[in-house]
Subunit: 204 residues, 2 copies
């Protein structure tokens, strides 16, 4: 079985978006695939007492500048969303639904869906807090709109996401993105090169 | 005149220590020298509302693990100080005094002094919050103890540090380390490779 890298993220995290565009290539270089693990930072911030990055004095201004600068370095599009941060529960739920689906064809679409949702927010400025927008984005990558709408109303999907978040917190995940490499957590999109070296060297 | 990279840091910042051990090599690769700019994060945190990293739930545990892991990657010694965080005003003042001295021989010792103070705290677990310890560390790198003790009591040195901190805040410095590359601020020891690439490419 292919080893995975678990990628924890919130759709409302610009650094989560930036890292999502690069993590698969790093995983692939080391014969791995990415397990997409959306979480809701609001639930985590209630534990850590953190506030959203862009709402912090000074740090917020730096972050807004750095999102674009870090995107440019890697040739990624980045447009800061007009409404930010936003509620991402619908986007997270549909992503968990795809990842956990019985149909392997839908499971295989998970990464494509994750990228489409991130790009909808950070490239096309679409309000993915709106379930109808999530449903539209998902349908454009080939998922059935009726199935998406059912998933968004499905109690089992809600429960799965809630359990995923509890498990992430229990593991020590407190920010987005956090990458779990065989039990070693790395926090931040600026740690991707370090993860690459960690995998190359087999740790240190 | 040689161009500098301004390196803003608090001695009570482990990531400041880790970056201090690597920044000169990066600067030198691009024909630059480092301007050492100690600040006091306590003053900055009153503006940003931040709390010391190791005191934050979850993030603190991650940080304690990551300090050592990041040190190991670069072959640096790291031992987390028994008392932490500590007051670093004496260490900051003596560093500013050396950097601003009329005697170029003392100015030239600034980097050596900075490294000695950082290593006293993070390698030898010495309580550099104590002015007597700061004085001892400075004397071991060849600075005169009487001159250090006078500097620590000198109102002009206090004022210089206070002005430096105000100027740093005005520039947008909110954390340690922050490196100013020709007006572009980069925050975090995990941005050193990005700074290296920025200098190599002349920005992007």
């Amino acid at each position: 079985m292919t080893q995975t890298l678990s990628f924890y993220y919130d759709y409302s995290s610009p650094y989560g978006y930036l890292a999502s565009e690069r993590i698969e290539a790093i995983a692939a270089r080391h014969g791995r695939t990415v397990r997409w693990c959306p979480i809701l930072l609001g639930a985590v911030f209630r534990i850590t007492g953190s506030v959203p990055l862009t709402e912090q004095p000074m740090k917020g201004d730096y972050a807004l500048h750095d999102f674009k600068r870090s995107a440019r370095e890697h040739g990624l599009d980045y447009s800061h969303p007009e409404t930010f941060p936003i509620a991402t529960v619908a986007a997270a739920r549909v992503s968990v639904w795809a990842r956990e689906h019985d149909d392997p064809a839908i499971v295989d679409q998970t990464g494509t869906l994750v990228h489409a949702l991130f790009r909808a927010l950070y490239v096309d400025n679409r309000a993915i807090n709106d379930a109808a927008v999530v449903s539209d984005v998902a349908s454009r990558v080939g998922l059935e709109r009726a199935a998406i709408d059912a998933a968004l109303a499905d109690g089992a999907v809600k429960d799965q996401l809630r359990q995923d978040i509890d498990a992430a917190v229990a593991l020590g995940v407190f920010g987005s993105p956090t990458i779990d490499v065989d039990g070693e957590l790395f926090w931040g999109s600026d740690r991707l090169d370090q993860i690459d070296r960690w995998l190359e060297r087999g740790g240190w």
